[in-house]
């Protein structure tokens, strides 16, 4: 029950500061490991257009919320609210794992305000 409360609290769009991150420097991408690179690729393919750079756009901001990975995965698989769902035949389990990992590195990147 406690877990559910935490999750519901986060879903209530508690914004924790700026969702903006400093633009990456030249060659920063090249230093990534394969799984992060795949995560970025998946994010760009399926999420970027509505959550540009993890900021608010057509959809809400993602960078500035401490939402745990399993809740984000739940959102992707079920597409709650206005967001479309992405099932396993579109984004595989491994790709979604990498995607969430990438999303969480974005959250930790240097803030821009």
């Amino acid at each position: 029950m406690k877990q559910m409360m935490i999750v519901a609290g986060m879903a209530l769009c508690i914004a924790c500061g700026s969702a903006r991150r400093m633009p990456e420097g030249d060659m920063q991408g090249a230093r990534e490991n394969a799984s992060l690179e795949n995560g970025r690729h998946q994010y760009m393919k399926y999420c970027q257009k509505c959550h540009p750079m993890g900021e608010e756009g057509l959809g809400p901001a993602l960078n500035n919320k401490p939402t745990p990975g399993f809740v984000e995965k739940f959102q992707v698989r079920h597409g709650l609210g206005a967001m479309p769902a992405f099932k396993k035949d579109v984004i595989s389990k491994k790709d979604l794992g990498d995607l969430i990992k990438y999303l969480h590195t974005r959250k930790k990147a240097k803030r821009l305000s």
Binding site: M4, L12, P23, Q48, C50, E56, L58, G81, A82, S113
Partner: protein, 483 residues
């Protein structure tokens, strides 16, 4: 756990749905206009090591820049902006931050692009009143019309040009949002001027007979409903199996003519608004396409703008595929699934190189060719920024930045945007930074990126555009270490 999960799901659905649908649109144009536009590069964020400076300001709806062989910048002023504001299109030479008029055009803007090739300028004249044209202009300002009678009187205009393989390549924008003329086109203004205008396919197409009811926007039927099919004039219904003859010039396409003009050739079609054209360092043609809006008789939701590599002869899917995917996927929350309007699909739809933010209005594009500037081989794209609520709802401003795209991986990263807790035009943020970047161009050395900033364009609550004259700026970005 199972119970938890179901409860959680229920709760989230309730919270999220209520949350999203009750939130108001907060687009970048939904703001008050400052009395004067000031600029300060300090309000702009770039990756470490890059600096921005102002080259010229006070420009009137500028849309593009090019350079002569000596590297002198020339800017075009559009002569038209959404909001039905007509001014005089002009070609300007920029010398020490001052503008010198080279030539003036007719009231047939917007001029959307310019290229310099072997001693002449080539200008894409949008064609809001007389149809699209390609103009050839000498450095002294003498102009000849190379091609005319091109589409451009509708929602979207004639775009480009880029010179490749001894041909001038250009884009013709679609007349409508998603193939069907409706009251939204009366709001734009042009339907009153051209009540019979509609999209034209490049090859024969067969319609599925899907029709759309809408309000009597032209007040011809005493308020009765109108019924309109795709690729037909307003209030003309389609029937199943109806064939619409393809012809050149067509709308929503990439076309080309030899440098000396004359014979029009089809390069690719099935595009909505192919705005920015550029040749990559390895000689391929790339095009940015503005995706559809949530407006008119056939609203489409959640479609990104797209970066395409153009394969000669291909059909890119509009109006039945968006981003290379079936249109049924792009239904409004709570709305009906959009139906296909074509009975037979004219071809296999290619896959996008990159999908850009929904409503970002991803426009001008150029490639870095310089180790000194960095990101050699990547595409830089100017995002004019959303025109919400006219195009649909956004939670925060979308676009209003220059992004760079790795054309191999499809990743889209921030390159130039305003400082602030949110992205947005300077007028929205209350700063002196970027407003609406509309095109980008590297100088001939490849060491500096010029960014054309259209200036302020406000959006009213009912979706009308209110552009502000003489607020355009030309910015220049350089890598510090390369100075």
């Amino acid at each position: 756990m199972r119970n938890y999960s179901m409860l959680l799901q229920l709760l989230l659905v309730i919270v999220l749905t209520a949350c999203y649908s009750s939130r108001r649109s907060k687009g970048g144009g939904q703001t008050n206009v400052p009395a004067i536009r000031e600029t300060s590069p300090a309000d702009i964020v770039l990756p470490e090591g890059y600096t921005a400076e102002v080259v010229a300001s006070g420009l009137n709806f500028p849309t593009a820049v090019c350079f002569n062989d000596e590297g002198v910048p020339y800017v075009i002023e559009a002569g038209y902006s959404y909001g039905e504001v007509f001014t005089v299109p002009r070609l300007l030479k920029i010398v020490n931050g001052e503008t010198q008029e080279v030539m003036k055009g007719n009231e047939n803007g917007p001029w959307t692009g310019i290229a310099w090739h072997k001693g002449n300028f080539y200008i894409a004249e949008g064609g809001q009143k007389e149809g699209g044209k390609i103009l050839k202009v000498t450095p002294e300002g003498k102009q000849t019309v190379l091609v005319d009678g091109l589409p451009g009187n509708g929602d979207h205009h004639l775009n480009g040009p880029v010179v490749m393989n001894d041909h001038i390549y250009f884009g013709t924008g679609s007349v409508t949002n998603s193939g069907v003329v409706g009251p939204d086109n009366a709001d734009f203004g042009w339907l009153h001027r051209f009540p019979r205008l509609h999209d034209i396919p490049c090859q024969d197409i067969t319609l599925a007979g899907v029709n759309y009811e809408a309000a009597d926007a032209l007040n011809k039927k005493g308020g009765a409903q109108t019924v309109t099919g795709a690729y037909l004039p307003f209030d003309s219904a389609s029937t199943e199996g109806m064939v619409i003859k393809g012809k050149l010039p067509c709308s929503g396409a990439i076309l080309r003519v030899p440098l000396q003009g004359k014979e029009l050739q089809l390069v690719a079609w099935g595009l909505r608004n192919p705005y920015g054209l550029a040749e990559s360092p390895d000689g391929k043609l790339y095009v940015t396409e503005n995706g559809p809006d949530v407006r008119g008789s056939r609203p489409i939701w959640g479609t990104g703008d797209v970066l395409w590599e153009i394969n000669e002869g291909s059909w890119y899917g509009w109006p039945d595929f968006m981003e290379g995917k079936p249109v049924a996927l792009f239904k409004r929350p709570g709305g009906a699934k959009p139906q296909k309007v074509l009975q037979t699909q004219p071809g296999e739809v290619p896959k996008p190189v990159a999908t850009l933010a929904v409503h970002s209005s991803s426009n001008g594009i150029d490639f870095s060719t310089s180790e000194t500037f960095g990101w050699k081989g990547e595409a830089f794209i100017a995002q004019f920024g959303d025109m919400a609520p006219g195009v649909g709802k956004v939670l925060s401003p979308v676009g209003f930045r220059v992004v760079r795209v790795n054309v191999n991986s499809g990743s889209v990263e921030d390159f130039m945007s305003n400082r602030g807790k949110k992205t947005g035009p300077a007028s929205w943020l209350g700063t002196k930074g970027l407003e609406r970047p509309v095109s980008v161009q590297f100088d001939p050395s490849g060491k500096s990126l010029y960014v054309v900033d259209f200036g302020i364009l406000q959006m009213t609550g009912d979706g009308q555009s209110k552009p502000v004259k003489n607020t355009g700026v030309l910015w220049k970005i350089t890598k510090k270490s390369s100075l």
